[in-house]
Amino acid sequence: MKSYRQWNTRCALPGILKTSGWIAAVISLMFVVPAKAEAASVSLQSDTIFRMGQSTSDKRNLYPAYEYLRLSVPEIDKDGTISFYFGGWGRYDLADKTTDRYTNGDLQYGYLSYRSKKNNLQINLGRQFVSEGVAAERFDGAYLRCDLAAGFGAALFGGATVATDPNFQGGDVVYGGRISHTMPKYYSIGISALKTDDDQSRFREEEGIDIWLHPFKQVEAVGRSSYNSITSGWMEHAYTISYIPLDNLRINFDLSQVNYRDYFFHMTTSALSVVPGGVLDPNEEVLTLGGSIAYTPIKNLTIVADYKNFDYHVAGNAHKYGGKATFSLPASFAAGIALHRMDGQVDRLRYYEYRAFASKKIAKLDLTADFFGVNYDSNINGLKNAFTVAGAASYEITERLKVAGDINYSRTPDFDNQLTGLVKITYAFDTARSAEGRAKGEKY
């Protein structure tokens, strides 16, 4: 039987945090309205999307309509220290109402942010995505980060978990932090921790160390090691080193080692869980070694050769290698080709993967053609060659209004002839700042 103390601290807390998040969102909207009235920098963008396709399970025709709304108010107050961000979407299927899933939607993020002009102090309240060391989490709660003396920095966060739980629960409360030390010319190193509780037990406890070294202009190393305190094992060591001997030559080395039992701990889908009888073997370990060489013989043209070796403790080895070449002229033209070979010990892991694409901007018109194919060594559902051909176009009707569409034809082991398409109407209520998610300076 749970004690009052347990109920009070573990069960009530997520609810309180969720409520706090919503209160923060409502309060921030109250700020937004007067700010808008004073013609402050407010950006609202609507993306209305119509898709056509088939359900993967029973091949029903689907015609879902989506509405994505993104609002950003970067300067609510006079000093420009308070801002507000909101993003969400809703979907309604225009044709199929045979199941209770013909509507769906999500609040992606909605938070009020304070950013001081000194010490990189930032306080966020609401639904947000935090990325601090071992944590890459979406939650409803509070986040605080700031610079400290002598090159140190600190970040703290806590709130109610925002997870999907198709098979297993994702925990109730998540909290953690990161302390870092930085010498901007040479390195940044951090230690971080994350803890998730539910009302029954310790759910997740992870600690990690992350590094970003650049001792010389030509050398950079980044990576992370993370430890699972509940299973008492290292989850992951992942590091990559880049050596840039010449301005047009870049050589990379990658290394990662993952222990399945520790890494795939308390996932919420059985597809990625190490539960008994599941898809993944808890005793599996994988060591991945790889590298790439990128050469730019002339400006805008890059040629890359890459290699990756997967060394599995239980399942055996596989190699993936190949190359690609890309040519791009900023904001006007891009084209590329790529060819890779996967060479594994089982039939399904022996195939060629190839791709060719080109995109061109002509005044207000954008055009793109894309071809992606896989050539399997052995038949899968009677098919060796799977491919998708896509064509896309967009036209900027006005500075605020843009219409885009694409059509895709696929032949795969699951679909003999599949035709899918999409039409997107984008309206930016303010052209000064885009909220679509591209670089702020880019047009929508």
Partner: protein, 146 residues
Amino acid sequence: MKNIRMLMIMAMPLLACFLYACANTNSMYRAHPAEVTGIPDCSECHTDNWASLNHQAADFYEKHRYYAEQQKFACGVCHEESFCADCHAHKEEIKPSDKYKLSPERELPHRGDYLNQHRIDGRIDPVSCVKCHGRSNNERCKECHR
């Protein structure tokens, strides 16, 4: 012992305030001061650590998670929050490669019809699935993985 613990708990906020007060650094710009078009090569202008954020580098897509977990606020100088949410979503039904169909040069996952290929990628490299589908955006998995 209890007194020492209490003293430490009381001293921690004071120490944090002291360290914060002594930092005296200027906060980073909210928005990049110069306009950036296309996929940027930060090393064209920056010679310090920001030069590493060369988005044109062949390995940038693989490495962006390391930069984000250390300096996410640096990403915010050029990218809106929705940029992260396009891929790292709580619930999402449109693939990133479909959202950015007109930017084929971007290294985005799941091109083409991914239903068959996910069975292969999921076997050879399930670790790469976890960041986006381990504890979020995985409701469709239940259609087959019950």
